[in-house]
Symmetry: C2
Subunit: 358 residues, 2 copies
Amino acid sequence: MINVTKTFLPTLEEYNSYVKRAWDKVWLTNRGELTLELEDKLKNHLAVNHIIITNNGTIPIQIALKLFGNGGEIITTPFSYVATSAAIVWENCKPVFVDIHPEYLTIDETKIEEAITSKTTAILATHVFGNPCHITAIESIASKYNLKVIYDAAHCFGVNYNNQSIFNYGDVSTCSFHATKIFHTGEGGALFCNDQNIYDKLYYSHNFGHNGPLDFHGLGINAKVSELQSAIGLAVFDHIDTIFSERKKVVEFYNSQLNFTNLKPLKIRENTEWNYSYYPVVFDSEATLLEIQKELQSENIFPRRYFYPSLNTINYIKGAKMPISESVASRILCLPLYVGLPTSDLKRITSIINKIIC
Amino acid sequence: MINVTKTFLPTLEEYNSYVKRAWDKVWLTNRGELTLELEDKLKNHLAVNHIIITNNGTIPIQIALKLFGNGGEIITTPFSYVATSAAIVWENCKPVFVDIHPEYLTIDETKIEEAITSKTTAILATHVFGNPCHITAIESIASKYNLKVIYDAAHCFGVNYNNQSIFNYGDVSTCSFHATKIFHTGEGGALFCNDQNIYDKLYYSHNFGHNGPLDFHGLGINAKVSELQSAIGLAVFDHIDTIFSERKKVVEFYNSQLNFTNLKPLKIRENTEWNYSYYPVVFDSEATLLEIQKELQSENIFPRRYFYPSLNTINYIKGAKMPISESVASRILCLPLYVGLPTSDLKRITSIINKIIC
């Protein structure tokens, strides 16, 4: 069976070489040495100012919204995983959707200003599939209206934009280290920021506001990652160059073999070093998508309708109509992309797709 | 160094015998087979109707409050770990404290009714140190005022009350499987309930509301536990009888050797099979506590001021005065209690305490 993704696993021996240290220290959580080491390695590798590893990729968005949302309206994208909108609603804010760019698939920065009201407190935009939003325009709007910017950078491990890590942009950026991600900790995620003051607030927020065992800085919750998760993160990180180069090969295969006459690939934004995180293709109609999906499934190949449905249409949200996002969401399919996907399978996938769309 | 607690670790080989299955399946999260097996084992062992294992012990309280709190006032105890109050505030509800019983240390059920207003939506009470609240009285009040009951049963693994698991009481009970707990998954926790309808809501809430990959039941968030955590849970569970019997020996040593003339132990509620989760002692004054703490520390023994401060006094909460809780919190110390704590160390601890208080 070929799924849209497959978790990259180091060997069990490699995992053990790290997790053994948790046994030696008899220490399984609460920012143990493996977590600190992983934070340090990622900080250096990504060249970011501040990082806090968390227990999943959603809690960082929740924490950022708790600090900056103030129960207000959050300008956001309808084209993202449900976590983006769910975090807004969960944190008692209101998602206000702005439609997406039809090719970059990120929030359409030219439509943000008209969505801002006196209740708007922040912009939460997703660098979807690792493709950067129009960061310059967004920062300029945020500055003009005194809004905070949170980037859901769940898909962005390893993305550089304008020669630096994409995590360096926004007041806060978040990432997911879910098992299906390029870099992962099984379940996990991270908070990134540049500002020391914001870092302090994020840090306290992720551990109950503790300032030592008996004192509290303020409100906080439990977003701590376990040492078991950090251990696999360290073991995965040892393979990070291979992971990128192998994924790049799959992407290049699709790029060279798919017939793009009736098929649109993701348009990567200028000045981006992309990370080969997903391979989305947009068909001319949902009917074509369903036909291809059916044909692939008959060969035990399971691409994924990422992201469907458009978040403004979800039952508990019911946002305004978002024609572009709804249209793209109905026609987009992410093709299998992972380390170890054999060329023979890639050939089967591309030939099935090419046969149907041509 | 002797800390208040020490994580129980199965051998690395025992852990590997479980975690290997995650490798074999290439499956690290999203309710994998280890998580399902652990849920099944715990469900049978505890004889409970429904269990959902989560990524920590706080998110279950948050989920229960999201379902039942409705942004209202939550009647709660000031004597608990900060997570209890933090979850209330985080979930946009208001904690309304009710003082505790001076001996059981649980919420004083006789004072609950006077704290109820038209805004009260739920009671969130902690079975502190595994000691049951006055469940009958609380259920009766809840029924009279149509309130939901959430039990923070973080400390309660293995506690039976009136011949059944304490997790069976309340609309929802929560537990912590933090590394410091009797049974643990490194970081982790669980939701328990009896009602199928509530279970469905809890279940969807803990996984983004997903009803299959493309449909949603409603609002949800990420509370999923990783297979790495469930693997250690399974390995710890294999030792559960030893864990209880070894902890019981430590408790019995303290019970038999401490001089209780000027020292109060926890009074366990009637009809309770307790779990030897903590060994709290209440001194006549904070000065005595500090003197004993200092003396123990000079011998590299670190008991813990659980729970201090009284939650109504925390800076971001500022609840009404709670004389009993504040007084107890200033005078209570949890003594070291874990599997493998040598009798020689126990003797040192009890003799230091007895010397000072007599």
